[in-house]
Symmetry: C2
Subunit: 497 residues, 2 copies
């Protein structure tokens, strides 16, 4: 190993350690920490974050990166780490330290204001704070943006490298054109699907038993992983030997069931990252979208697949003999795939979900690129829901205030959700050519599918972008047609259209 790289590695080890500590604090806060701990623990988190900032922004890091860039004999992984270090540093130091700190405070404050406004169903209360958040995000994007790059494109690039409005406009336009009429058609002449039995007296203990069974079944390794409970399900990891997922339990059995498979998908991605990459800057998933592609792949393409339940449905019925009495496997599979326009993104089914994202994408473009009067947001939001989904929110809480993202300044994040589904569909159609996908699921040989994803997606960490992964695996750049094909085929069949 070269002297220069050794030096960089030493600095990075410290920054990674601080980052890992911050991740553990966040995990702990979401899953276990006592109610009153927050304010005091915030001091600790503040000090660690400041130390992290100083290390990344500091001269030692700068000089180490520069020395590495002059170096000849670096390995490919080392080169990728140097590149990532440089980008991480540039994204941070282009923002003046004072503004960086101010924004961190603003965001923490904004989350509280948003939460209160949502509870009180009062969007106007949120507007002045949201305005500040938007202004900071625009400013930061302008610092980052290279000549001629639009602000929203710079934001999109942060979450999904290689994607911009040009690509996304095309993607979402195709989606809108296909899905809006499909949803209308289902409503008008699709067959009726019964799913009432998914709601009821499903004891938490039994749901936990099912959750652990399913996570393990799809390949989440409990020797390197943990399943806990939190208000909102999420996945996090300290490294590829310590990956943690959460779920929540309610009287909707399918909610926890598919949230566990979804988070297990995220988890399996992180577990599959190579030992040579973990605990380095390229030792995480390739992008937000690629991560979401894997969680949605496990949740929907695998978990809501009729074939998946062939070897499992008896087991499910044995856990809930009363609740599923008289429900056939076919009825169960139809119920977990029922599509129905709703107002809340996180509760949306596989089909209508993409339109929730589309609406946010269209509005974010207006906010960032068109300097929209934010007071008009609830109206715009409601109009779009009515136009695309045929339903209109009665108030801001079930409308424009439902998501936390904007209060956190995460503009450009939402498209990843839809892109993830589209990446997954593209992988799926390619895999069907290479293997008997549904046959494997029917025989319970899910390991073959998981191993294929590990080999082609997971193990590379951030060494490839999502577009490179798609290209190398499927032989084709990102192509939205597969996602549309997937939704059309699946839902036409399901609803006898």
């Amino acid at each position: 190993m070269s002297k220069a790289y050794e030096r960089l590695e030493k600095v990075l080890e410290k920054t990674m350690a601080l980052q890992t500590a911050l991740i553990l604090f966040e995990w702990d806060n979401e899953t276990l920490a006592p109610e009153e701990a927050g304010a005091h623990t915030a001091r600790v988190i503040g000090a660690l974050s400041e130390e992290y900032y100083n290390m990344v922004a500091g001269d030692e890091m700068k000089e180490a990166i520069e020395a590495c860039e002059k170096e000849e004999g670096l390995t490919d992984v080392e080169k990728a780490i140097v590149k990532e270090a440089k980008e991480t540093r540039e994204q941070l130091v282009c923002i003046p330290a004072e503004e960086y700190r101010d924004n961190a405070q603003l965001v923490s404050e904004a989350t509280r204001v948003w939460s209160k406004a949502k509870k009180e169903n009062d969007f106007d209360k949120f507007v002045p704070t949201l305005k500040k958040v938007v202004d900071y995000q625009k400013k930061f994007a302008s610092y980052r943006a290279k000549d001629g790059v639009k602000l929203y494109d710079s934001m999109l690039d942060l979450y999904e490298k290689g994607f911009n409005m040009e690509l996304l406009d095309q993607f979402f336009d195709e989606l809108k054109e296909a899905i809006v009429p499909l949803i209308r058609e289902i409503k008008e002449r699709g067959k009726k699907i019964e799913n009432a039995f998914l709601t009821g007296d499903y004891p938490e203990e039994k749901q936990r038993e099912l959750a652990e069974f399913l996570a393990e079944y799809v390949g989440f390794d409990f020797n390197k992983g943990v399943l806990a409970v939190s208000a909102h399900p999420f996945t996090t990891n300290l490294h590829n030997h310590d990956v943690r997922i959460t779920t929540h339990y309610s009287d909707h059995v399918d909610s926890s069931l598919f949230s566990v498979i979804h988070e297990a998908g995220h988890g399996i991605y992180e577990l599959g990252i190579g030992d040579d990459l973990t605990q380095t800057l390229v030792g995480q998933g390739a992008s937000m979208g690629m991560h979401e592609s894997q969680s949605r792949f496990f949740e929907n393409i695998i978990g809501r697949n009729a074939a998946f339940w062939v070897p499992l449905y008896e087991k499910l019925q044995s856990i809930f003999p009363e609740q599923l009495k008289g429900v056939s496997r076919e009825q169960f599979v139809e119920a977990i795939n029922k599509a129905e326009p709703g107002l809340i993104r996180t509760e949306a089914d596989e089909l209508t979900y993409s339109l929730h994202v589309l609406i946010r994408y269209e509005i974010e473009k207006m906010i960032i690129e068109e300097d929209l009067d934010l007071k008009k947001l609830p109206e715009i939001w409601a109009d779009k829901y009515e136009e695309y989904l045929g339903i209109r929110p009665e108030n801001a809480s079930e409308g424009v205030l439902q998501d936390i993202h904007w209060s956190q300044g995460s503009f450009g994040y939402f498209p990843s959700y839809a892109l993830g589904s589209a990446f997954g569909a593209q992988l799926y159609y390619h895999m069907k050519k290479e293997m008997d996908f549904e046959g494997l699921l029917e025989r319970g040989e899910i390991g073959v599918i998981r191993e294929y994803l590990r080999e082609n997606v997971h193990r590379f960490g951030k060494l490839k972008t999502s577009r490179e992964i798609l290209k190398d695996t499927t032989g084709e750049d990102f192509n939205p047609k597969y996602y549309i094909q997937y939704l059309k085929e699946k839902y036409s069949r399901l609803y006898d259209l």
Copy 2:
């Protein structure tokens, strides 16, 4: 606040943040982290520890302390923090960085070797490693020790400021003289106590219900605290608004029951530390011994008190109606206080416990001060058990290999356990003069007792030493006679002597 102190506070905030992160990693490792995480997480912990070392040993800390020492207008708390910072720093920097690192590695290795030797019941295998640990500890003690201070005294001072062999010899001599004959007398002519009903089918879920109830009953605040499960019960805290205790469940109901009250005692100490002190260098318990005094106070003086069970026994019986059928409160109280010499310290009753500690104290003195041939340890250990407790270990696993402490280099730690009991007894006899102690317990007014301890012990953190706390509260320096009086009175009564 003075400029100098402000500067010190800034450095200390970072070191405290790193320390708090390390505490959280340790907690996580003991309670939740997946099995295979260890080796990877060790890298993170190593990097954070190194950063901690560099910060404490660094020039910034040195200069800030020196500047504060020249300052006139510091408050008493500020002065105490400066003093503690100086001591912490001196204890660290007197050890060459290389030896410090070597020892950290050695100790981690030694714990593994000890664990294996214990499992295989092979003390000889442990001897070479133990020799290295002892040598390092002696070396470190010689670095720390002021002129003329003996090595073991320097070790004792680390855990219990103001205590040395002179004081402890006297303490343990008095103890031995009183307790060895008392135990013999109980064996020869004490009445028989039945405790078989404490072992049996006590479902874990019911034990958990009891554990949560009891922790809360004695005053452990779950808004600022957490109860989890770990292999060995322990208490830790991030600050006074986040205190965490653990327990374990077995078929001995009294084991988890009293371990929860014990850890709750530790926890209540940390919860009681003043808001002005928490998250500073003086924001922890005064000493190992004083901490142990509070846990043992709650476990034994409160929890094994007949009066404690007056308002509680019905509740206990309602949780375990089958298991405690026909067992009167009086029988239960006798059973939980039964004294019987055993080989294992952690399973010892209140009476014989002090002799387990005495034996370790006598042997540690020989190891450190007399340059004992370590190969002879099993024999010496067995002889002492036979002499003081009348039983002889058959092998090293149930003898000299039972405790982890020596493998971790913690020489001088054991006496704290007995000192803690003695501190507690001294506080108890004084409190009996100030309040109707048993009456309060009978009426379930345990809050009065807890508040007295908070007011006189907990809130001061490290502002006072254990001897100062005793002096200020009871009007008397440490006096071992109360502990002996307590044990004699309690066990004579219990065994009708």
